[in-house]
Symmetry: C2
Subunit: 482 residues, 2 copies
């Protein structure tokens, strides 16, 4: 079976997202991220390259764990300065008609009613091209920016996230019927009031009356992405996510995690193929192997270990504060952080590893299971093998240089993947969900938990999902996966 592979550009509204140190490269335009022109040029480039979407990461705090302060993150431009990710999408959408937009937003600190309307607004403005990367946040500094003394405990964040999603589904799916807006000029009826309703959500964390303020957009619920790597995170993803960023260290562990997610999705009453799986791809390509390896050497030379250490120290451990032979697992236990669910870009602590190994891994981009540097043929071979071995559906392409990394991929890799039938040669349908799941699938699958509120059904039921059931499922998966 030949399946076409999805590619998103991995982005963030900041200078240094995950390739720390590279901002100094003379061809890198990252420092122009404050300008609309930067984003407009990128959108045009990606649509030219037939990318699935631009995938915008985000954090709402500073990485100030390393050396007990924000100095290194500031000096190395590690995700600071940074701007809001949602606000670049309308301008990028205005110069494209097919490119998707997935943006990160946390369920922990801001009220669901406001986010529901922002997401619906973006789905309207993009005509159904909006996706949401659901995170629960993990930076201690983020908590302190939102009136808390420290992070909400990991499992509590997921309980809040469950209720948050429940509120959003009610607003997006249940509050307005498809045919509510009638625009009957003769009778002066814009909306048929019998087809719009309050949601009257009352839960442990939120009370939300509704009705939703936005009329139904093409997708209603944006395409839902998530990256849980803990047992609880995986259970959440298997229940809600339509695109999952899978964790792993080897092709085999990715394959196992992907099989687990599909299995758990099925146990949640969803199709195995209702979840698309993604990972970060670290690709250095040029016209031939020699040029690509030289390019990779240049990227390594410009990489800044201090930047990576600040990044790692923000969400987890200050690796500089421990001896190199200390076990990560012991440090996590001592800091009572074993349950932390780090962000996709920060999931670097293999529990059996030593500090020295973790340092090696996080400061060297070639340690990824999805790293390749080589000629177009070699890169395409690697990608083909990754997908065949793991059952992955697609990748977030890491950028070393903007726009260089995307340009290289478009110039060298896409034509080779197209020759092999592994990459689209033209866009089909324009909504993001249809791109992932095929023509006609603008809306959530009927089996998705958000779909139960359609037509206003179940709005008065007790909150779902049942936490106990959720915890049991998570524990079961945890046993299988560990």
């Amino acid at each position: 079976m030949t399946k076409q592979i999805s590619f998103n550009l991995f982005e963030m509204n900041t200078v240094g997202h995950i390739s720390h140190g590279l901002w100094v490269h003379p061809s890198n335009t990252r420092h122009q991220f404050n300008d609309l022109d930067f984003w407009i040029a990128e959108a045009k480039l990606l649509e030219e390259g037939l990318f699935d979407s631009v995938f915008l990461a985000d954090v709402i705090g500073t990485y100030d764990g390393y050396r007990a302060g924000p100095e290194t993150a500031l000096r190395e431009a590690v995700q600071i300065p940074s701007n809001d990710p949602l606000l670049v999408i309308p301008a990028m959408a205005s110069v494209t008609s097919k490119l998707g937009f997935a943006a990160t937003f946390s369920t922990t600190y801001e009220p669901p009613f406001a986010f529901a309307r922002r997401a619906s607004t973006l789905d309207h403005l993009t005509k159904g091209r909006f996706g949401w990367n659901i995170v629960t946040s993990y930076l201690p500094n983020a908590a302190r920016n939102f009136s808390l003394d420290d992070e909400v405990a990991h499992d509590d964040r997921y309980a809040i996230a469950e209720e948050y999603l429940d509120v959003l589904y009610k607003l997006w799916e249940g509050s307005w019927d498809d045919d509510a807006v009638v625009r009957d000029r003769d009778n002066h009826v814009y909306t048929d009031p019998s087809k719009v309703r309050y949601i009257n959500h009352v839960g442990e964390h939120y009370k939300v009356a509704g009705p939703h303020l936005s009329e139904p957009s093409l997708q209603r619920t944006p395409v839902l992405f998530q990256a849980g790597s803990s047992a609880r995170g995986k259970a959440f993803a298997a229940r809600h996510a339509e695109g999952v960023f899978v964790g792993g260290t080897t092709l085999e562990s990715y394959a196992k995690n992907i099989a687990d997610i599909r299995q758990l999705a099925e146990e949640n009453g969803r199709g195995r193929d209702h979840v698309k799986t993604f990972a970060s791809a670290v690709i250095v390509v040029d016209k031939d192997r020699e040029s690509a390896l030289a390019k990779a050497e240049e990227y390594k030379r410009l990489s800044r270990a201090e930047g990576y250490l600040a990044h790692a120290g923000g969400g987890g451990i200050d690796l500089a504060a421990y001896p190199k032979d200390a076990l990560i697992a012991d440090i996590l236990a001592a800091e009572n952080r074993a349950g932390r669910d780090n962000s996709p870009e920060n999931r670097r602590y293999a529990p059996g590893a030593t500090v020295g190994e973790a340092l090696e891994r996080l400061t060297n981009f070639d340690q990824s299971a999805f790293y390749v540097a080589g000629s177009p043929t070699e890169v395409a071979d690697a990608i083909e093998n990754w997908v065949a071995t793991t059952d992955l559906d697609g990748f977030n392409l890491r950028q070393f240089l903007t726009p260089g990394s995307a340009e290289d991929f478009i110039e060298y890799v896409i034509p080779e993947l197209q020759r092999r039938g592994l990459y689209r040669t033209a866009y089909g349908e324009s909504t993001l969900r249809e791109r992932l799941f095929g023509a006609g699938q603008q809306r959530l699958f009927d089996e998705h938990p958000g779909a139960r509120y359609r037509g206003g059904a179940h709005l008065n039921d007790a909150a779902l999902p049942n936490d106990a059931a959720q915890d049991a499922a998570a524990a079961e998966l945890g046993e299988r996966a560990s």
Copy 2:
């Protein structure tokens, strides 16, 4: 003295903002508000017309007070469906270089840290063209969308707003120095960490650590608009606002209120001319008087009393539920709502009026003190007289039709105002604050309370302003104004 008059287009990301019923007009494009093309076309038109800015109102709830439900608001499209106002700005900014953007956002329900970054992002993306209309919200349904049972009491909302502004000023003005971002490629220093700091705000309502995530934008603090009409609201405006929407019923009462605001600004240590004053202008113009009057008749014929009643009932009183000779003041007292501070578009209850008079006033757009229908000359005469009599600096132009009302104004009124030296013939500086206050004034005036945090000064002071002092000032103004 001839001063040039500011004009903003009064807008909202919705079908029916304040001209209820007009959506049925065949040339009205309001029903296309979900589309980017609608906003892009409007931005181009307004920049062609040399408008100061587009001014986006907002509410975060539904008008469901009238007839005890949202049915009328839905049927008549009274500010529902509606979308987020901030998200149309980036696309409008991408096709303009001078037009300003002022958007409404409430201080009551969402955390200040997130809004601080969104505002900075917009000021970056627009290159200093962003303004913020500060509201504290007034719809009971809005409160119920944000986990509350009913509105926060009026004076408590202002206390929250004071602290909210204090947090924002610390983030916008105090957290980063102007020269913090150095981009020293040779030494791998993006930001000089010694020039960025935590704000460590600890107040009654918020704890916010910082640092701000965005680097300084051209204006830092967006241009601050506000529309307080209560004594407390006026005191707030005199302290914080750079553009004030003034209340009134006659030209004389406007003149008095404007003089009061300027006086109170001066008592707050600000210049009398550091506050620009605005009101809504209701203008129907055509090539000659006869055509304009015919147009006004058509607008009246299409106006829907039910829409206006739903609008009025959302924030205040269900006028349909009282006899026509009941006094508004008695109803307000009975409902314990005397302290309510309604939004600019909902300030329709003259306390001495009866229900019948209020009905008459709110369903008839020609009851405004700033209403004129006539030839270009007649309209320009009226505007000139309004400004001369009241000392107003500018107007928000009410739309009956989109794009018709703005097109009419550009075609018929602007050339006449230009001939009289009352309207610019070209844009000067491109930041919004410079447009209002002159070249070089990109930042807050030094006397503005936000300016005190520059360079990180005063971050550790006790919260300002002192509530008791604020209350005393408000009471004093209240006595003078009533």
